[in-house]
């Protein structure tokens, strides 16, 4: 069992009672990386972040250094937007970082803005997170007053304003182009990519970087210790450590910082310092490896490493670092219905397959659960799903059929539509018999 003995990078202050205050932050090397970065110059900072091979922690896993390098040369002003909208079901790791270590995020953001020569930054915090907003507002007020943010930062001559912005309840706003629309005061509907890649045409159609809270929280450590030290943790393709939110039927649900690549799902679920095994000695039935949008894995996939380059070819995604464990007391149809209800509810309505298809998928699953299922409902579910995400749909190897690698195909503007197909496809693939009992007998196989 591989439990890394590497020191944690981003969760060091989460247990400190004063970790969220400027005093607590300064007492633990706070804002020393910013001073170092200001001395290095923007290009040297960018090189360190590239060398770190820091993959985005928001879901898509794109390397931060490469993303920053995509900004078109000599086009200004550029903007920086922090994605703090965390709302992918199963995911709860950005919220603790914002509530309990807001200065780490602010310092990471400052360094990142310095590296990409951004004119202004916005921290977009999910509306429902009142405490995170209060903690970030307090931290920004402290940091402005102390000269870390605003005019002439630390006497360097470099200036940057950071604006705290609140959302108002819409999952889709987490998608980066919808986030930008929302930040422009619009309904949160995704834009087409191309042409609206944020790096090219983002906020106010200017070059814009959107990065996740956890991604940016790594930056101070990378500047302090060097990109190579970060890349040395984990494996070549999965560098550093990462926060995983482990929830559902484990003995010890929690948010754990683990080393990427060298840790497996089994380690996360079973190690006494992490999940401590399935609750009540029950058996594992299935698990979601990367948030509600991810196709499910089954017990055979437990030994896969926490590494996007391993999970993707195996038919799912590491996504937002949310691992949801379902034991054998779970009704697969009910779990699928609840996930599909979420996606149907959160569709922004811009594309027909997602808006209409998602709603119908939810209705069909509901009638199956209510005992009114029809014999051809399973085929109907798969057919509606195929209109949103033309198959073959990603899945792990099963019954002699080879894996279909991630990502899914889509007839929609953004991946929310196909995400609704994940729970349906995953549950029918493995638990078709549970559907049949619901449809034929009008009851759950669990009684």
């Amino acid at each position: 069992m591989a439990v890394s003995d590497a020191a944690p990078i981003i969760s060091t202050r989460l247990a400190r009672p004063d970790g969220h205050t400027l005093a607590g932050y300064e007492a633990t090397r706070g804002y020393t990386a910013l001073r170092k970065a200001l001395g290095m110059g923007p290009d040297a900072v960018l090189e360190e972040v590239k060398a770190a091979n820091l993959q985005g922690r928001g879901g898509a896993g794109f390397p931060a250094g490469a993303k920053w390098s995509f900004l078109p040369k000599d086009v200004f002003p550029r903007y920086f937007v922090v994605n703090g909208d965390e709302s992918e079901p199963g995911t709860s790791k950005d919220r603790p970082l914002m509530e309990r270590d807001p200065h780490q995020l602010i310092e990471g953001l400052l360094i990142s803005c310095f590296a990409v020569r951004a004119a202004q930054a916005f921290i977009y915090v999910r509306g429902e997170m009142a405490l995170a907003q209060e903690r970030l507002a307090t931290a920004l007020n402290e940091a402005y007053a102390a000269g870390y943010v605003g005019r002439d930062i630390m006497g360097s001559g470099w200036s940057l304003d950071i604006v705290l912005h609140w959302g108002a309840g819409a999952y889709i706003v987490g998608e980066e182009t919808a986030l930008i629309e929302s930040l422009e005061g619009q309904r949160g509907m995704p834009r087409l990519k191309p042409p609206f890649f944020p790096a090219a045409k983002g906020l106010y159609l200017q070059p814009t970087v959107v990065n996740n809270v956890e991604t940016l929280s790594n930056i101070p450590w990378i500047v302090t210790h060097g990109g190579a030290a970060f890349a040395a943790l984990g494996t070549e393709k999965a560098a550093g450590t990462r926060l995983f939110a482990l929830s559902g039927h484990v003995r010890r649900p929690g948010v754990y910082e683990v080393e990427m690549g060298t840790t497996t799902f089994r380690d996360l679920v079973e190690a006494p310092v992490y999940g401590g095994g399935i609750r009540h000695g029950n058996k594992l039935k299935a698990f979601i490896p990367g948030g509600a949008s991810a196709p499910w894995f089954y017990p055979e996939q437990l030994d896969l490493a926490l590494d996007a380059s391993v999970v993707g070819p195996a038919g799912s995604m590491l996504g937002s670092g949310a691992v949801v464990i379902m034991d054998d007391t779970t009704c697969a149809v009910r779990a699928a219905w609840r996930l599909v209800r979420f996606f149907a509810h959160e569709s922004c309505g811009k594309c027909t397959p997602c808006r209409e298809g998602g709603a119908w998928l939810e209705k069909i699953l509901r009638r199956i659960l209510d005992g009114h299922g029809r014999e051809d409902d399973i085929e109907l579910l798969l057919d509606v799903g195929d209109n949103i995400s033309p198959g073959p749909f990603p899945h792990p190897p099963l019954d002699g059929v080879a894996a279909v690698p991630f990502p899914f195909k889509q007839t929609t503007i953004c991946p929310l539509g196909p995400s609704a197909v994940s729970p349906i496809h995953s549950s029918i693939l493995r638990f078709r018999d549970e559907y049949l009992i619901h449809i034929k007998d009008g009851r759950c196989h669990l009684g």
Partner: protein
Amino acid sequence: MSRLSPDNEELARTIIGRYPRSRSALIPLLHVAQEQEGWVSRDAMAHIAELLGITPAEVLGTCSFYGMFKLEPVGRYVVGVCTNISCLLLGGEELLEHCEARLGVKAGATTDDGMFTLEDVECIAACTDAPCLQVNYRYFLNITHDQVDALFDDLRAGRRTDEVPVHGTLTRVRQHVAPERWSGHGAEGLPLPPGQAR
């Protein structure tokens, strides 16, 4: 049913001034309106439209997209019970049913005395502390049915108001920037050579 108060109009102008383009302040201003009245009235929307130089229909268009903005009065306490996947696995639906029984209303409704509005909500990013709920966006984690009963009794009796402000008050701490600390570089919208101050 009112426009923003003079104090809130002042606050609105400060918020607008932080963005390169004023319309970006729309959602924050809607929060200010909701804080004032507990919901967002048409008069408040019209006032915001004036402040931003857009139409009331544009304000409504954005406002109606976002679930947190209430277009009619709601209870003093909005209780959001998460029933999404991680909570479903650990009793989220049963928790919601318990709240429905205890408050005597179905999810989506408000109690007759106007104290509570109950909502069946999507994941609130506390999945590792399931089952959980929020009251006016303050978290109650790993909560038992008995604790729910005690919480509702306390709120009804006017206790725990320091923990849970009335509906509309989202953050009790606001961003403040002393004018001499504000750089204004974003608003000027000009290229910024590194290492140079304006």
